[in-house]
Symmetry: C2
Subunit: 405 residues, 2 copies
């Protein structure tokens, strides 16, 4: 790296007004200053200074530039190596691995298991090839989680897939979302109870559901009341990613029309599926996510059979009239779903779960109890009550202690 001239360095000896203010102060003070090798706060560069913890008497923004006693001198005059932190984080992630938990919901026969296996290119979800008579349709929604560690290029992902057989398969499907909501909340509860322990694990095990893929049957009509009710409730507590299942049963025109109707339905019912507009963090995010939102729900096809197409092996479904290639963007939108869940938004799904959904749950839990404090020393894995609704658990109280007066 080229270094600045000695002349520039000489100017570093002069003391900025901010530093002078800090030095004259008898109590700890903090100001801040943007420095950079280029575009820093040297002569001709932009200046942005302001109070951070305790405001200085005169915030530097309000000072005319000429009032400063010369360049304040925080241009970098050599290579520091700050960006090495990216590699340090990478090494740490490769060492420890990470957790990713996904849930699939939809009535039986929509290809949920095949889709998960297609996404993760492995047998990560059970597939009932020949279920017995009793197994065929469970009488209630039964949640089944299987965890696999998938390793690729040295990165280990602990993937948990939670399946929900029985959902939407009954004559009366009232409240069939309850066991699902209960499961999702139980994972938040589990995390919360670990978080408030006095002696905590170095890393709290994360079983929270980061994404819930909801399979809409390819009717080509509208969303059914069950679809709407489920997504309305679930989108408030988890990242819901709706997909049009078995999209090979629809022509391209039917798909486009169905998709548009679903988008209208979601809008009409104020259902905010992932990626939620409210959580876009900056204009870049907005543009990128708008492009995704236009295409939601993705019309997908899953397959775990390979076929020969133009000399290449492709995953697809072979019919008499041709091979539907799942990874071919012209055939279906599986690649969009895979990119969203894994290649572009996996970390964001985890972040939204932690920063938004879990925080909402935590606020709700801590607010709902005006009683005794959430027990910091209670075991983290309390048996949760079987009725499916959250118990009025003890919570942090907002009573000021004796020393706060």
């Amino acid at each position: 790296m080229a270094a600045a001239s000695a002349g520039q360095l000489g100017s570093l000896g002069s003391l900025g007004r901010q530093q002078a203010a800090a030095r004259a102060s008898p109590t700890p003070r903090t100001g801040w200053h943007i420095c950079g090798r280029r575009g820093g706060c040297g002569a001709g560069g932009r200046r942005r200074c302001g109070a951070l913890m305790e405001p200085l008497a005169v915030p530097e923004e309000e000072m005319p530039l000429t009032a400063a006693p010369g360049p304040t001198g925080c241009q970098l005059f050599g290579y520091v190596g700050i960006e090495a932190v990216l590699d340090q984080m990478k090494i740490k992630t490769m060492k420890t691995g990470f957790e990713f938990n996904i849930m699939v919901v939809g009535q039986s026969g929509l290809g949920k298991s095949t889709m998960v296996n297609t996404l993760f290119k492995s047998k990560v979800s059970r597939k009932a090839s020949q279920p017995s008579q009793e197994e065929r349709i469970p009488k209630t929604v039964q949640l089944q989680s299987i965890t696999h560690v998938i390793e690729e290029k040295g990165v280990k992902m602990k993937l948990t897939v939670t399946d929900t057989p029985g959902f939407g398969d009954q004559i009366n499907n009232e409240n069939c979302w309850d066991p699902i909501i209960k499961y999702i909340n139980e994972q938040y509860e589990r995390y919360l109870r670990e978080e408030i322990l006095i002696t905590r694990k170095r890393k709290i095990p994360d079983t929270r559901v980061h994404g819930c893929v909801y399979f809409v049957p390819p009717t080509g009509h509208w969303l059914r009341p069950l679809d709407l009710e489920f997504m309305r409730r679930l989108s408030k507590i988890v990242n819901v990613v709706p997909v049009i299942a078995k999209a090979d049963t629809l022509t391209l025109e039917e798909r486009a029309e169905f998709k548009q109707r679903i988008q209208e339905d979601l809008k009409t019912h104020a259902i905010s599926v992932y990626p939620q507009e409210d959580f876009d963090q900056d204009p870049d995010d907005r543009v990128r996510n708008d492009r995704i939102r236009e295409k939601i729900p993705f019309a997908v096809v899953g397959a775990d059979q390979e076929h020969q197409v133009n000399g290449k092996r492709v995953l697809g479904r072979k019919t008499k009239w041709g091979i539907i290639e799942v990874e071919n963007p012209a055939h279906c939108e599986f690649p969009l779903l895979r990119d969203l869940l894994i290649r572009s938004h996996l970390q964001d799904l985890k972040d939204i779960t932690h920063n938004v959904h879990y925080e909402s749950y935590r606020v709700r839990r801590l607010n709902e109890s005006n009683g005794p404090a959430l027990t910091a020393a209670s075991p983290p894995e309390l048996p949760l009550d079987p009725c499916g609704s959250a118990r009025p658990l003890p919570t942090l109280v907002a009573v000021p202690g004796p020393c706060l007066g």
Copy 2:
């Protein structure tokens, strides 16, 4: 990426014993399985399966390989893209930036400010070029924090440097570590109070001190009682990195001898400076950190002047008998200090601070009060008491709620 043959894929349809067990279960179950493109659990590969949350009736380790109904089929049969998470994390860090807080302690005239400026190649620390008579030696230890945002290769670091003028400069230096300990604990308190708020910030501002560089005067003798007392107390609450200041006053032999004596002193007094042996996470860490521990404390020289050496500009100190190049490993160990603090261990300093020192503080705080609950709704920035000792603050109580019986 090459994909597996259709024959291999066909076997994915068969149901592993684990999945069968999961399906038969009426309650949510979770098992886990290591999968990988190579060395997975297919025929001939290694197998590692075991219970994660709820153990399955028969852990797969105990099953003879031949008992499985064919390969259990979790070899990846194509590219998934898991490692894309590394890029997602990188992009997120580049967008949000990160905080790094460092403290320098040592008596006046040991080059603390120059060293910080040398480390970060900028004027990040105030340097009293011409202090007035009163400013020369403060009568008490006064903490001064200055925060700069340093940007390099698109990575933004919010660096806070806390200086401690007055430390060790009095006739009687008893308890001169108190304001420093108070400051460090105040930052933990600040973080704790944010963490337990019901409605929390998405990212808790981190003002905790990630590293405390202690400047040992280059006496060439032993550690003084003040050095020992300070490091003994501080190493329990913060990452202490001792350095031999102004090492250009010592010959290489004197340095080596002094360093060895300091190492013996630290050992005798059971002072565990950073990187602490106890916190090595794996054999790799151990080997890497042992190499660092051999060389601690680094004998350093700081400089913020450039000189011409063999046609190259180098940071150094020019004397009549030659130029001491601070970045030349043959001249001093500044490069080792820079690598430790920035290029190799910055993230680890932050992690140890969060996972060990902050957690210890939190456990202490939550345990020390048997009284009312730590107020989740109290303002995070309470004025801290001026006496320098931690107040007996209200804390989380370990009283079980009414529903836990």
